[in-house]
């Protein structure tokens, strides 16, 4: 009989192996899923996992989708380290995207007052502020009224979505848009510059890489990052040390909101190029998985981001090639998180074969 046995201490190796193990198991169960759907499992996996990275153009799409995933996950990692359960990155992303889009539309008229790069800079700033403000609502309610941040941040996501709907049906609606609920398409000088010719990959990708390094410095080298980690890991020690838990709540939520906000700004000013009723296919939610796959480590989130981005592209592929529903993406995401949580058991426990 297979038995779980408590380890003497938690295994560091297993902490890093667990995401890989979960990924392998996800692929295995994914194959079974394709089989159950009446497809050749190898073909299914090939279309889902290999097709999206077949050439440079495809890989640039992969990196494009990685950008918002990693940006959101970086912020979430800070929150989760501080034991603040923000699961509303999606709403903060939408708020940031809306703020950035509104900024561009405000400046985008025939005789421009500001240069394109200046407007983009302002739009990104607006994105950060928009996302941070949206997260601040959660922080305020938790701080003042002890409201549960999980529920508040999640519900605020739906409010952000409705706010976006209102904006594209009202103030931001394109006057020449045949009454479609969307803004006008931004002029090209107000779009983020592309990194390569013929690819949608934009400068936000570089910003994301820099942000990852900065975040690693913040978490592992700065005293502010240390305070957040101690506050999350050990609240009583934090009190003894004199680290304020209120400050940790506000700091982590504002950082997280800011990062999700800029991710939204990059989407709106990047691949989308206008404000639409939907500006994210759930990046903010998928980023929760990215953060955990990355072990709440900024460098790790890049790997997590690549995997989840692959799942998004794979979902589109199986839809067009195999005629399967794109809900496959959600299934793979769910399996990965579920299996990761299961595999994480092995960090503190080991499997032992026991003769009964």
């Amino acid at each position: 009989m297979l038995k779980l046995e408590l380890r003497a201490g938690s295994s560091r190796a297993m902490a890093y192996l667990s995401p890989l193990l979960a990924l392998c198991l996800t692929i295995f169960f994914g194959a079974l899923l394709f089989l159950a759907l009446g497809k050749n499992p190898l073909t299914g996996l090939q279309v889902f996992l290999i097709e999206p990275i077949r050439n440079t153009a495809a890989i640039s799409e992969l990196l494009l989708k990685t950008t918002p995933l990693v940006l959101c996950a970086l912020g979430l990692s800070v929150c989760y380290r501080a034991n603040v359960w923000n699961i509303g990155a999606e709403g903060q992303l939408i708020a940031g995207g809306l703020a950035a889009g509104s900024t561009i539309i405000f400046f985008d008229h025939p005789d421009p007052t500001l240069s394109g790069s200046m407007v983009l800079l302002l739009a990104c700033l607006a994105g950060v502020i928009g996302g941070a403000l949206w997260a601040a609502i959660t922080a305020l309610l938790r701080d003042r009224f002890h409201a549960n941040e999980i529920l508040v941040s999640l519900m605020l996501t739906y409010i952000a979505q409705l706010l976006l709907m209102y904006a594209v049906n009202g103030p931001l609606k394109d006057p020449n848009g045949m009454n479609f609920p969307q803004s006008k398409v931004f002029s090209s000088e107000y779009l983020l510059p592309h990194l390569m010719h013929g690819s949608r990959l934009h400068i936000g990708f570089i910003v994301m890489l820099c942000a990852t390094v900065l975040m690693a410095l913040f978490i592992y080298r700065s005293f502010a990052g240390f305070r957040l980690t101690v506050g999350g890991l050990a609240p009583l020690e934090a009190r003894y040390a004199g680290f304020s838990s209120r400050r940790a709540l506000w700091t982590s939520l504002l950082i997280s909101g800011g990062f999700a906000g800029i991710a939204g700004a990059f989407e709106v000013a990047g691949p989308i190029g206008q404000v639409l009723p939907s500006i994210s296919p759930g990046y903010g939610f998928a980023a929760i998985i990215v953060a955990f796959i990355g072990r709440l480590n900024p460098i790790g989130t890049i790997f997590g981001g690549l995997i989840l981005s692959l799942f998004y592209l794979g979902g589109e592929m199986v839809q067009s090639r195999l005629g399967l529903p794109s809900a496959i993406t959600g299934l793979f995401q769910g399996m990965l998180l579920f299996l990761l949580l299961a595999c994480d058991t092995l960090i503190n426990y080991r499997l032992r074969w026991k003769k009964s």
Partner: protein
């Protein structure tokens, strides 16, 4: 103890019990025999392997090898339910009672599902009356004193009619008077034929109570003896080996200005199970060690939180540090005024178990050169942690060792080292040697005396009377959130302090109740 007991089969016989964990051999070929009706002491320092052995007997831990005989028959105790079926009961050091339930409800939880509560209440009263363990079955546990809570645990154990009762450090929370009362009860239980395994490291109690003793050191049995015929010194040699521990008596240092002063400090309860502090006044001068005795749960935690700055509800001038009103200031502002504080809980307040010793430095070192421009100066922090490890002889693999990988005593040395290296002028320490072995305890006491010599004002809050009498110049007692007047240690007697621990310093000579204050 009786002639029949000697001829009868032993109640419990362990032979060749071994248990090893990845990093330590907890039990190495342990032999132990307990006769019916015998009070048998298992004596050893913290970490000697006593707890593991008791858990093996109680079925909570499985031995790697060795046999357990129960009334002559070999048995395998797979789990605590098995143990209870055999007739083994255990009273743990840390009580497992629900504060919000009544005595009877708590006891019912451990019994079969369908118990008649009226009958149970009657049983509790009767058992209590038989053994001098008076309890009111319908009182809520949170209104009980620590001594009364222990009675609930013992009554719960007795209701299963055990043939062997295991008590783990039962007196660590009791006043001297309550200890005597407990002993009367235990002698009565034993006289009726129930064997008692009494785990302790307190030599005097064992010599007074127990018929025989098994002494353990580092996982091995180092001797069997009759404690009534041994001296404290001979028992302690068996327990800690031949290492002689000397207490260098320091010359008295002149007492200086008041460094820490509490004036009528009162704080209402922060939550339902807390203790309110009532008009606590206290002065600690440079170059003296002041002790606060008392049974835990009488306001020590609340007082410490107010002193550390974690609880800032006090009026600012109720607490003054170095002449400044600091009641409203947080822990860091008080550190800036050269106050160091070692909390009672080492893991869980004084150090983060999952972090390295280096990282744990930063809990109280939050200024240059440890922090520069908001970034951690790891080079300096590692250096400082290494210095503490070397100077305080902390057994650790290095500054990168995780706090939880250290034994209790070594972690305590590290934390005390961290707080001393800051060069404090006011040093507050709670339970400095709780769960620490004799060698480390002597070292910690030595460091505290050195602080005093250096002119530091020291406050020691402890439940161990021996420790307070050894260290302190003056003693206070805390009970029910009130603080007694101070008495010079040379003029104090253990009886007087024991009485004060019940809150009876106002009515001198009135000894009709020996009950400890409500926790």
């Amino acid at each position: 103890m009786t002639s029949t007991a000697a001829s009868a089969l032993p109640r419990l016989e362990l032979s060749g019990i071994c248990k090893s964990y990845p990093s330590v051999v907890a039990n190495d070929h342990i032999h132990l025999t307990v006769a019916p009706g015998e009070i048998h002491a298992v004596l050893g320092e913290n970490g000697a392997g006593k707890s593991t052995l008791m858990k093996i007997i109680f079925g909570a831990v499985k031995p790697d090898s060795g046999t357990v005989r129960w009334n002559g028959k070999e048995v395998r105790v797979a789990n605590p339910q098995d143990a209870r079926k055999l007739g083994i009961s255990m009273v743990f050091q840390h009580f497992s009672l629900f504060d919000t339930l009544t005595v009877a409800e708590n006891i019912a939880l451990g019994l079969d599902a369908n118990v008649n509560m009226t009958e149970l209440a009657e049983q509790i009263r009767q058992t209590g009356a038989n053994y001098g363990l008076e309890l009111e079955p319908h009182r809520h546990v949170h209104t009980l004193s620590v001594g009364e809570r222990q009675r609930v645990e013992i009554v719960r154990a007795l209701l299963t009619h055990p043939q062997l009762l295991i008590l783990d450090e039962p007196t660590s929370v009791l006043t001297p008077q309550a200890v005597q009362k407990l002993f009367v009860t235990l002698r009565k239980i034993a006289a009726e034929g129930c064997s008692i395994l009494y785990i302790s490291h307190k030599l005097d109690e064992i010599r007074e109570l127990c018929h025989s003793a098994t002494v353990m050191r580092m996982g091995k049995v180092t001797g069997h003896c009759d404690p009534r015929e041994e001296t404290a010194a001979s028992l302690s040699r068996l327990m800690i080996g031949d290492t002689e521990i000397s207490h260098p008596h320091t010359a008295d240092t002149p007492v200086g200005a008041v460094r820490l002063s509490l004036k009528q400090l009162s704080l209402p309860k922060a939550h339902a199970f807390a203790t309110a502090l009532e008009a606590i006044s206290l002065d600690i001068r440079a170059g003296e060690i002041v002790g606060i005795a008392g049974v835990s749960g009488n306001g020590q935690q609340e007082l410490l939180a107010a002193l550390s700055g974690e609880d800032r509800r006090a009026g600012s001038d109720m607490i003054s540090l170095q002449g400044q009103a600091v009641g409203h200031l947080g822990p860091n502002a008080r550190r800036a005024l050269k106050q160091s504080l070692v909390p009672e809980e080492r893991l869980g307040r004084g150090a983060v178990p999952e972090l390295s010793l280096t990282d744990n430095m930063l809990l109280s070192e939050q200024k240059a050169p440890f922090i520069r421009a908001g970034m951690i100066n790891f080079k300096h922090t590692i250096h400082a942690a290494s210095q503490i490890i070397a100077r305080f002889r902390v057994k650790a693999s290095g500054p990168a060792a995780l706090a939880r990988s250290l034994s209790g005593g070594n972690l305590q040395k590290f934390i005390i080292g961290r707080e001393i290296m800051r060069g404090p002028e006011v040093f507050i320490v709670a339970q400095p040697t709780w769960g620490v072995d004799v060698g480390a305890a002597a070292q910690i006491h030595g460091e505290i005396r050195k602080l005093k010599q250096a002119g530091c004002a020291v406050l020691v809050i402890s439940e161990e009377l021996d420790e307070l009498f050894e260290l302190c110049d003056r003693l206070h007692v805390i009970a029910k959130g009130r603080l007694s007047p101070s008495v010079a240690t040379q003029e104090a007697s253990r009886e007087q302090i024991g009485l004060w621990m019940s809150g009876l310093w106002d009515q001198a000579g009135n000894t009709d109740t020996q009950e400890v204050a409500y926790a």
